[in-house]
Amino acid sequence: MVKEIERTGLPVVHMCTVVPISLTVGANRIIPTVAIPHPLGNPAIEKKDEVTLRRKLVERALKALETEVSDQTVFED
């Protein structure tokens, strides 16, 4: 899906937990996330902290969208 949408010329950032799969399916901008059933959250922490965590991940995704890449890139912290 990532690849087909990116083919239209729109930048796509893929947020997922299993980075090797993302690399295999051909995503170009990748943000590693928390866990498979809750990529953008963590039920073990306070709701307030969870929102902060999610916000950080989304900010990282937006940063990736603002970054020129020439090849598949994994954006760690």
């Binding site: 899906m1 809750h38 969208l65």
Partner: protein
């Protein structure tokens, strides 16, 4: 000859998605599908131990899982390692391929796996690990065992393997020298004639597929950009109005989130059957971050959150289907003036 077998928590009978986070454990002898495999391997070989690991645990902790399992395999020093078959279970396929490749490379023990050709683990590891091509569900277990057992025996005996077509494994891109009756120039002309006549012919050198898409240019000013959300994690409005299937999805959904500031257990849920749905059903922002993007829109950190989000279930869904969905979605996003896309996967 000794064989160690790797399976996931589901085939071990431990549980489904709610148990996908169990850590590696080793049991003596056969477990689950190992029984059929064992019967087909006799009398040449015996499955001395079975290693079980939860699919999510493995994929979320690849390095730790790999290290622990390699230690377990070492204890038995087997002559062969078999992982799977994983059919079309994506995380299981990735785990089976990863651990089989590691056993081969780090312990020098030959390994064998099996899965459906569209399993992401197949593309990742078919060049390194001998992999039988199976059906897409466990209904193909008998067929998988029928192909895996003879290959296992050949590996144990150190016999040369036949071609991928003859033996039912996935081509590894290995070239072998062999003698043909006709010389190359004649074979090439024969092929050309068939091609001109519009007849079927078989190339002797299939070109590898490199289907990569160039990265699109970056967004200049994200505070002016219209951002759309897309997910393969199956988030849908409560009640799943379009009945998107929990696996092998045949459709995607497009939902209006105009005015939505937060996903809650009252307005959203997941339709996905391939992961433990408890956390997403409690708070679907954990998969589709509507809450924080809405806040960022308000704070002027992004231009706009696109009014619709698109969703499907990426669980055993055919590659051709997802391609088709994404083509339509992409065209609509462009037509709607979207500048960039956040795609989330579980």
């Amino acid at each position: 000859m000794k064989v160690v077998h790797y399976i996931n928590q589901f085939f071990a009978g431990i549980g489904g998605e709610e148990k996908a986070d169990v850590k590696p454990e080793m049991r003596e002898g056969v477990v689950g599908p190992g029984m059929a495999l064992q019967a087909a391997l006799k009398p040449e070989a015996e499955i001395v131990a079975t290693i079980i690991c939860g699919d999510s645990y493995f994929n979320e902790n690849i390095d730790e899982a790999k290290a622990t399992i390699l230690e377990m395999v070492k204890q038995h020093d087997p002559d062969l390692f078999i992982a799977g078959p994983a059919f079309n279970a994506g995380r299981y396929g990735v785990a089976a391929g990863t651990i089989a490749a590691a056993v081969q490379e780090e312990l020098g023990i030959p390994a064998l796996s099996g899965m459906y050709v569209e399993n992401p683990g197949a593309d990742m590891f078919k060049k390194d690990v001998l992999m039988v091509s199976t059906r897409d569900s466990a209904a193909g277990m008998r067929d998988a065992v029928k192909k895996m057992a003879p290959l296992a025996k050949k590996l144990l005996a150190g016999e040369e393997l036949g071609s991928p077509e003859d033996e039912g494994y996935m081509a590894r891109g290995v070239r072998k020298n062999l003698f043909r009756d006709d010389r190359g120039s004649k074979r090439a002309v024969d092929m050309l004639i068939k091609k001109l006549a519009g007849e079927e012919f078989e190339t002797e050198f299939p070109m590898p597929e490199f289907d990569r898409v160039e990265p699109s240019p970056a967004i200049k000013d994200i505070t002016k950009a219209k951002i759309a959300l897309v997910t393969s994690g199956g988030i849908v409005p409560k009640g799943n109005p379009d009945r998107i299937e929990s696996s092998s999805a045949s459709k995607y959904g497009k939902y209006d989130i105009d005015g939505w500031t937060d996903l809650t257990e009252d307005n959203a849920e997941t339709a996905h059957g391939g992961y433990d749905p408890v956390y997403a059903n409690q708070d679907a922002d954990r998969v589709l971050p509507v809450d924080v993007l809405r806040q960022m829109e308000k704070d002027g950190k992004i231009g706009e959150l696109h009014r619709y989000f698109y969703t499907t279930v990426g669980n055993g869904t055919a590659v051709a289907s997802s391609k088709g969905f994404a083509k339509e979605i992409g065209a609509e996003l462009v037509a709607d003036g979207v500048d960039a896309v956040i795609l989330t996967s579980t």
